[in-house]
Symmetry: C2
Subunit: 666 residues, 2 copies
């Protein structure tokens, strides 16, 4: 029985549902001319940025594609381009619908919470279903055509290099616009957030879409594909001839798609009371259904039951990590409250407190990843499977529910935009309150997704490391050999270096943006009084140009370093490089995502009336923390997943060429 056709069929089903939701959202009413105008401005800005981004990506894809062609032949190069294309298409679908769903959600909010929730969530669902649909479509089609995991690896590399640019570029864009809009608007002129007089407001709204929708989609697309490919490569190498162990991850992904579809259908119950709870319940239901389907799939395919427990370990730990990251970042818990309290002593103590709790927040997620590793390894071994295969499967188990997780995540920026549009177009207080409640639920979903994405990336890169080690036949790393020491040190330095470069890009870019906004308020007469319109397009342009220019150095570093280390110091050193980058990459990613969320919510907690409330000294201190945390959580932190995935994929890709070659000997 050829299982991969079932995977292909499931991916088509996913895309059909996505297409249906897309049409459904477009059919929703949007009669307000004012709202249409704002929405159109955001759309124009986003489309302009996406056009630039895709042009830049096309250049990168052409250059890297030629290198891949020369090194690995036409099939892998074709798969590489196909991977970039599929990821770009998924991002494009998701963003187009998000750009249309925002004003429609705002309009629907006049009919109450459930109606607005449906528009926003189904809008997000387009992103969720396109990501898993395009990813599984590409992988299963390539596997059916060539029956060679190495070619599917080319697909994964394509998706991953696109994700690096989309995620880091989107992150720089969104924070440039956000900081630029806030520093002049809120701080200097004391006009509200999302005020239409602020020239950077459209760039800011565009940023939410390109950073959070397109960027996050590309990021999870990348981890999702990489985890499946790693298991395929390990399966082909460890179980010679038993093709069901190669097809298993494709089938688990298919099971995840069906579970997400059922989860979406069952979710709307209870929305009226609490949209956040509905989103969480949707995730839990999806997980339960997925566990049942996975058990069925593994039985049907006649696969060792150890595979089921390994998958389950990843699934459970992924959900638990997602929810615990809530403890560090939600204002319902003591940590955010204590950070808010510390703000009373000024900005320095706010920074120090958030910084420290951010560092502590690493611990639970790392312990979770360790548990998933231990349990999946021993579960696999107990039933006679190789332990590494179990660990790799746990990554697939964690990522199988991606369809649901991405849907819930893409919901966030839609309701965030909807709230902004409702405010800018002067809808009633009641409608804005509804939008606010939807937005609060979105923030929680976003925090959970970030923890989930980082943990999943962690297990995925461990799986890729295993695939690399298997391919170059690396049994163990000799940590006393200087080449390995050099490899680990350089690998460990990469994530902090990459973070520093992207953060500096944001401050450089934000500086240019602040100057432009100040210039417009100075030179356009009547702007502050609301009598003249600002030049939105100029701000959108500054954010977009800067973001792409700033990507050149970090992007090149990510692609070139693994190759250079392999050429100079050999395959053991490259193994060290991967190991080093994985460990510090996860640590910095978790630290930055959580501390950023923590500062953000400490500020919101004060704004809600605690510790002196808005305008107090504590609030000013918390705003400083929030601004520091912004590029942590939305630029540097989330790009690190992709950085370590790209480096690992480059390593696995060049692995077959490496055996016994290096300048200084291995």
């Amino acid at each position: 029985m050829d299982w991969s056709w079932i995977a292909l069929a499931s991916s088509v089903a996913s895309l059909l549902v996505g297409g249906y939701l897309y049409l459904w959202v477009r059919r929703q009413e949007n009669p307000s001319a004012r709202m249409h105008e704002i929405s159109h401005a955001i759309e124009t800005g986003a489309t302009a940025y996406m056009r630039r981004l895709y042009m830049a990506l096309a250049c990168v894809a052409a250059v890297v594609g030629i290198l891949v062609l020369l090194g690995f032949g036409i099939k892998v190069a074709g798969a590489y381009l196909f991977g970039s294309l599929c990821s770009a298409l998924a991002g494009f679908f998701g963003m187009s619908v998000a750009l249309r769903a925002n004003s429609r959600t705002a309009w629907a909010a006049q009919r109450g919470l459930p109606a607005a929730f449906a528009v926003a969530f189904y809008g997000g669902g387009v992103m969720g279903m396109s990501v898993v649909g395009m990813a599984l479509l590409g992988m299963s089609a390539l596997y059916i055509l060539f029956r060679d995991p190495q070619i599917v690896l080319g697909f994964s590399f394509g998706a991953s290099s696109l994700a690096l640019l989309a995620k880091a570029g989107g992150g720089i864009y969104t924070k440039t616009a956000d900081i630029g809009a806030d520093l002049v608007g809120k701080v200097e002129l004391s006009i509200p957030e999302d005020d239409p007089r602020n020239p950077a407001v459209i760039a800011d709204n565009v940023g939410d879409n390109v950073g959070d929708v397109a960027g996050m989609g590309a990021d999870i697309f990348d981890s999702y594909v990489a985890s499946v490919v790693a298991v395929m490569i390990l399966g082909a190498s460890l179980f010679a001839g038993k093709l069901e162990y190669v097809a298993l991850p494709l089938m688990l992904a298919a099971a995840g798609i069906w579970a997400s579809l059922f989860g979406m259908v069952l979710m709307r119950i209870g929305v009226r009371e609490n949209p956040g709870r509905a989103l969480n319940m949707g995730t839990v239901i999806t997980c339960v259904i997925f566990a049942g389907l996975a058990l069925g799939v593994i039985r049907l395919m006649g696969i060792n039951p150890g595979a089921f427990y390994a998958t389950l370990a990843g699934l459970v730990v992924g959900v638990v990590i997602g929810f615990t990251s809530d403890v560090f970042t939600s204002e319902q818990w003591g940590i955010v409250q204590r950070t808010a309290e510390a703000s009373k002593t000024g900005p320095a103590i706010n920074i120090l407190t958030g910084f420290s709790y951010g560092l502590i927040s690493i611990l639970p997620s790392i312990v979770g990843i360790c548990l998933a590793t231990l349990v999946s390894w021993y579960a696999a071994q107990h039933f006679g499977l190789p332990g590494v295969y179990g660990v790799s499967l746990s990554a697939v188990g964690m990522l199988a529910v991606t369809g649901m997780v991405v849907s819930a995540d893409a919901y966030g920026p839609i309701v965030d935009n909807a709230k902004g549009i409702a405010e800018q177009s002067g809808l009633s207080r009641e409608v804005i309150d509804t939008a606010d409640r939807l937005d609060a639920a979105g923030n929680t979903a976003k925090a959970i997704t970030k923890g989930f994405a980082i943990a999943a990336a962690g297990l995925t890169v461990l799986a890729l490391f295993a695939a690399y080690a298997e391919t170059v036949d690396l049994q163990a790393l000799d940590l006393l050999h200087p080449h390995v020491i050099v490899g680990i040190f350089l690998g460990a330095v990469m994530p902090p270096l990459f973070s520093a470069l992207t953060i500096l890009s944001v401050s450089r870019n934000a500086f240019a943006m602040v100057n432009e906004v100040r210039r417009q308020f100075r030179e356009i007469p009547g702007l502050l009084e609301g009598l003249a319109k600002p030049d939105y397009a100029r701000c959108v342009d500054i954010a977009a140009q800067g973001a792409l220019k700033e990507l050149i150095l970090p992007g090149t570093l990510a692609l070139v370093t693994p190759v250079a280390v392999a050429l100079l110091f050999g395959r053991e050193a490259l193994g060290g490089l991967l190991a080093g980058s994985i460990f510090t990459g996860l640590i910095f990613a978790l630290f930055m995502a959580n501390s950023g969320g923590l500062w953000d919510n400490a500020k919101k907690y004060i704004e809600a009336g605690s510790c002196g409330g808005e305008g107090s000294e504590a609030h000013k201190a918390a705003v400083v923390g929030d601004t520091v945390g912004d590029p942590f959580k939305d630029t540097a932190g989330p790009s690190l997943n992709t950085l370590i995935a790209v480096m690992s994929l480059v390593a696995v890709l060049i692995a077959p060429l490496l055996v016994g070659r290096s300048l200084l000997g291995s």
Copy 2:
């Protein structure tokens, strides 16, 4: 020929010179009653803290000593206590003289720069000579008595566990006092730094001594001993019967002592022009002399010449790393100036810029450590020595000039205190300017020492790792095994966790201090007008009590984690724990030391008149950065060296017991 007697004789010479300098400093004039009073207050506070610290250390030493006795017998336990005692004595001598040299330096400053420089530098020299003297005395005496490196290892463990408490405790103390004094004094009441009306001012001055003199001394004592012991253990294991390879590190340390003595004698030339340059020239001269002596020693002992090149590699890289850390932290270079420039956009951008450059500053030092590793490995191998022996020797080469480096470093807090005393006792503007010039030179020396100490600790823990691997016969780490993955992950989390705990301790403690200072200004009538005296002792008490109480959790973590991981997951996992802690430990230590220095000097650059000067918005923003950087550079950052050294020493110590034992199997 028994070389270890020469080492013992050199250590005695070092202590004699230290003793002579001690008496010389005490003989200097100090006739001013006002200065005597201030100096006496600092001395009383410091002595009170040291008494508390040594009491706490005695308890820890008793508990750990009993455990060592039960596990390793009476000889190792005795060596453990002896190690704690020698390190404590070195710290005690160094601090007593520093506490006397400060007012004498201020008085001598009336006779001009060279006279004051001599008092301060010879005062620092007592610390430098006691550290190397006590360390080499202990090691060579134990080696002559027992001829067993494992017993010298006990000595090293004793020194190291004392250093952890002295360094982290001193770091918490000093920053509690500093932040407490600044937040109320400078920020709220706008009275100058070091103003005698501020109740926390004496605690602040005490902090400079207990943190920077006693803490840094214990820290480098620890690395110095550990690097020598690691080479002794490797030498005994790799060169069966060739005892000169075991004695070599002792002889190199002896050569370093003589080089430092010559360097100190030759240094005073050119002081009148530029004290900073004189300090640097002293270091360079010491290094050149040491290189010559090391070559002679290695020839005389009939040792393979590869050992010389390995030693030289460490020495050169150590000096280069020390000086390059200057580029990131000195206001003469673009990075500090750009951070100051960024402060104009507010505190958040100041923080983000300093944070990013701090992360980038990791790179040169890590590249330096990689180069030292590569060169010393290949130099050793080229001449037929085992590569790991070469790498371990490079650590000794780097640390051999410790006598000189610690002298230059201990000079810093003496002149810092002297400046404070000159201001508080109302000496003339000219004298204060002289003290200021001396102080500026001290800051550069301090930055260089920090870079040097971290790099040296890096190579030392690599050497300890090699000694561990040699003892438990660990050829390579299987990074695909879950126990190793768990070990590395937990190891990698330890340094950020430890940093977070110590920083939180500082903010908790500083909060208590701020409340006390506010209370005194509120309740003591006439204090602000200078009519009444504040209760200095109460502030000293708060800082001291808090610092020691806060140490319990991080200290226990450092000692217990290696043992727990070894018991649960076996020797491979413990190897992983060490590797993980070494890599992230160095990264966080470098990041924190350099970003802290960077923020500090960006503030000073603005205070010197750039970017709007004192009182401008940019200055306020830079003060926030400086306050954030304070616990980075003086509490968390410098404690991380000691953390990884303690964990590595625990591992080497328990290594012989580990072979083949663990709960989950290895």
